[in-house]
Amino acid sequence: MAQNRSYKMSRTRRTQTWFAGRSPVLLTPLVDMFTILLIFLLMSYSTGGQLMYMAQNVLMPESLSREQLEPAVEIAVATDRIYVDGEVIMDDLTEWYTEKKLLMPVLYENLKLKALKFKRMEAEVPLFHFAGKITVQADRAIPFHVLKKVLYTADRADFPRISLAVFQRD
């Protein structure tokens, strides 16, 4: 009984002093929120995988594939331009929608220079190995005849191991 009384007393005293001394901010909801957010983020956290430069206006198709992307040279093909490793190298593709030739000279030159650089590195750096890997991110709306030219040019420029980057679908 006596304990109960002292509890009540101390409680009132505490409330009074608490309001008098500090601003009445309750941290509990904030901590709750952070805890939920932390759990959600930890669940969606993924180790591994390859970071990729995401080009503007490139909406890749969705696929059920679960193969991991590997580090490689990246080509991004938007409906109107082509990026290589994040840099725009061709900013007008209109002529390539009607062009009969398969080789894109600007892309070829760019990729060939990269391949040469890697080959030189391979000769100088002992553990470096150039495998000719290339990752192609292409917009889902581009027609096959444009994609075909890009793939063909990449292959000609010593990048025969081609992977297509796609969004994962469940």
Binding site: S10, R11, R14, L27, L30, V31, F34, T35, L38, L41, L42, S44, Y45, S46, G49, Q50, M52, P61, E62, S63, L64, S65, R66, E67, Q68, L69, E70, K100, K101, L102, L103, P105, Y108, E109, K112, L113, L116, T135, A138, D139, R140, A141, P143, F144, H145, L147, K148, L151, Y152, D155, R156, P160, R161, I162, S163, L164, A165, V166, F167, Q168
Partner: protein, 207 residues
């Protein structure tokens, strides 16, 4: 003396009401939450390996020659604007030992409205895989105007089959080695193409 008493008072009060000091956990949260937010991945990416048959290197073609027969000489999927078609050159013996008897089969899957009939294609591929389990390659012959999205959907169908068994999601490979090609090869364009690279190579100082 008084101060000691005061201290004891406070500590008793803390024990009684569970007045926990939240500052350390807040510090932890403030560091962890932005770190995880920055590294959070909302769209996951994956890769699809493809091969280019016409431009394949000499070593690869040599390897292909050494492969054991699987019963299917060649499996082709035609991806056209008006639908899909599966063509296969089969040898009658699934072990591929009797090479004399060949049979060409063709199954058409016309487009339904604006959707490609991937379900029927999957059924047909499943039957083929059951009959010829060792065959893994499929060649895509794609029409020029077909969009990239359609190719990827068709590739998904041909590479792996996804199914549910006892409430569990499972998958098994069908024909995972996909080679991308065009509907008819432009033999004439090939020389011109090589000429094109030669000019650029010369410009770059490569022999």
């Amino acid at each position: 003396m008084r101060s000691t008493q005061g201290n004891r008072n406070t500590s008793t009060r803390q024990v009684l009401h569970g007045d926990v000091d939240l500052t350390p956990i807040m510090c932890l949260f403030i560091i962890l939450v932005p770190l995880l937010l920055v590294s959070a991945v909302f769209e996951r990416l994956s890769a699809l390996q493809v091969h280019l048959p016409e431009a394949s290197t000499i070593e690869e073609t040599e390897e292909a020659k050494e492969e054991e027969p699987t019963g299917i000489v060649e499996l082709r999927l035609l991806v056209k604007e008006d639908g899909l078609a599966l063509e296969a050159t089969l040898s009658h013996d699934p072990s591929g030992k009797e090479k004399e008897i060949y049979e060409d089969v063709r199954y058409d899957f016309p487009i339904m409205g604006d959707r490609y009939d991937l379900e029927k294609l999957l059924q047909r591929l499943r039957d083929l895989k059951q009959e010829y389990p060792r065959h893994e390659e499929i060649v895509f012959l794609v029409d020029d105007k077909v969009s990239y999205d359609v190719i990827v959907q068709a590739m998904d169908t041909c590479r792996r089959e996804y199914y549910e068994e006892g409430g569990e999601k499972k998958s098994r490979p069908l024909f995972p080695e996909v080679a991308l090609s065009e509907t008819f090869s432009e033999e004439k364009g090939f020389e011109g193409l090589r000429e094109g690279t030669r000019i650029i190579d010369k410009k770059l100082g490569i022999r």
